[in-house]
Point group: C2
Chain length 189, copies 2
C-alpha cells in the first residue's frame, strides 16, 4: 500500500516535458523535475509529504495551528467527502487513525481534534477533501474551540495565495517543514 518513495506515476511533474529522448544532445535543456501532489489548486512538495498509500497522502502544514497539525488527503482531487470511493474513504480514515496515534504520542499530547470542513458552508476553503488532525494538550487554546477559527484562518490565508513551489514564501521554512516530515517518516518505519 505504502509508496513513500512517491513513485513517478503517483505524483505530477511540474515540468513534465523537460526530459529529452536524446539526453546527450539536449543536456542543457534538462531541468530538475519538481514532483508535487495536488491539493486543490496548490502544489504540495513531496518533501512535505511524510506518508502515502496508493490513494492517500499526508503532509505537514505550511501554517499549522498547533504542533503536528497535519492534513490527510486523497490523491484524487475531489471536492466533497461524498465524492470519495469506498476504498478512498476507508484508506483516508485508517490512515488518519494510524498517523494521529503516532503524532499524539510523539508530541506527548492527550487528545486529538479531527475535522472535515466538507463544503464552503462548513468552512472549507481548499476544494479538495482533507482531514485536519491536530494533537491537543491541556490549555493549548484558552477557549478549546478557538482551534476551529484558527484552522479557518489558515485555510483562508492559503486560499488567497497561490502555493507555487517556485515562489519564495515567508511562512514556515522548507527546512523546518522537511525536518518535521523527516521526523514523522521515521515514526512510521
Amino acid at each position: 500500500m505504502e509508496d513513500r518513495n512517491c513513485g513517478h506515476n503517483k505524483v505530477k511533474e511540474a515540468s513534465s516535458s523537460c526530459y529529452s529522448s536524446s539526453p546527450a544532445k539536449n543536456i542543457h535543456r534538462i531541468q530538475k523535475t519538481q514532483m508535487y501532489y495536488s491539493f486543490g489548486p496548490h502544489k504540495i512538495d513531496v518533501e512535505d509529504v511524510f506518508y502515502t498509500t496508493d490513494l492517500i497522502f499526508v503532509f505537514v502544514n505550511l501554517r499549522p495551528v498547533l504542533p503536528a497539525h497535519v492534513l490527510v488527503c486523497p490523491k484524487r482531487e475531489v471536492k466533497r467527502f461524498a465524492d470519495l470511493t469506498i476504498e478512498e474513504t476507508i484508506d483516508l480514515w485508517v490512515t488518519a487513525k494510524r498517523i494521529s496515534n503516532l503524532l499524539e504520542n510523539y508530541h506527548n499530547a492527550s487528545s486529538l481534534t479531527f475535522t472535515i470542513q466538507d463544503g464552503p458552508q462548513a468552512g472549507q476553503s481548499v476544494p479538495h477533501v482533507h482531514v485536519h488532525i491536530v494533537p491537543r494538550k491541556v490549555g493549548d487554546f484558552e477557549n478549546n474551540d478557538d482551534i476551529y477559527e484558527a484552522i479557518d484562518e489558515t485555510e483562508k490565508e492559503l486560499a488567497e495565495k497561490t502555493l507555487d513551489l517556485d515562489k519564495k514564501r515567508k511562512d514556515r521554512s522548507v527546512e523546518e517543514r522537511v525536518h518535521e516530515a523527516t521526523q514523522y517518516r521515521k515514526l512510521l518505519l
Copy 2:
C-alpha cells in the same frame, strides 16, 4: 450488516432481571423491557436510533445544534478513536458518509461539518467515540465556527445530567425525536 430491528443481542436491557423463569406465576412482576444503546454513561432509546450495522449505531440528538445534527457511534463503548478496531473504523466512516449524504440532500443543505472531539482536551465530554455530523447551510451560524462551541455546550449539558430513560426530560420531546428518526429510517430504505 444492517440490523435496524435492533436485535436483542445487539443492545442492552434496562431491566434485564424483569423476566421470570416462570412467567405464569410471576406475571405481575413482568415489566416492559426497555431496550437502549449505551452512549458512555447515557442510555439512548432504540427509537432515537435510526440506523445500525453490526458495529455502529446512528441516533438523533437530544439537543441538536442545527437540524439533522446526528451522532455516529460504535456499539462497543471505547473512549478514544485509537481504541477502535480497523473494522469499527471502516464501518464508522462508511456509515457516516452514507448517512451524511442523505441528510444533506434531505435538508437541502450544501455542506457538512464532521468532527470527532477525541479526548477531553479536544472537547470530548462523553467518553465514548462519536462522530458529529451536521448539515450546513449559508448563514446557519453567523460565525461559521460557532458551531463547535454549540456542539461543546450540548455535550457539557449532556454530561451534567444522567440520561435516564425513566426520567422525564424537557429537551426535545420523544415524539419529536422519534418522528425525526422515523423520517431518516425511510431515507435509508
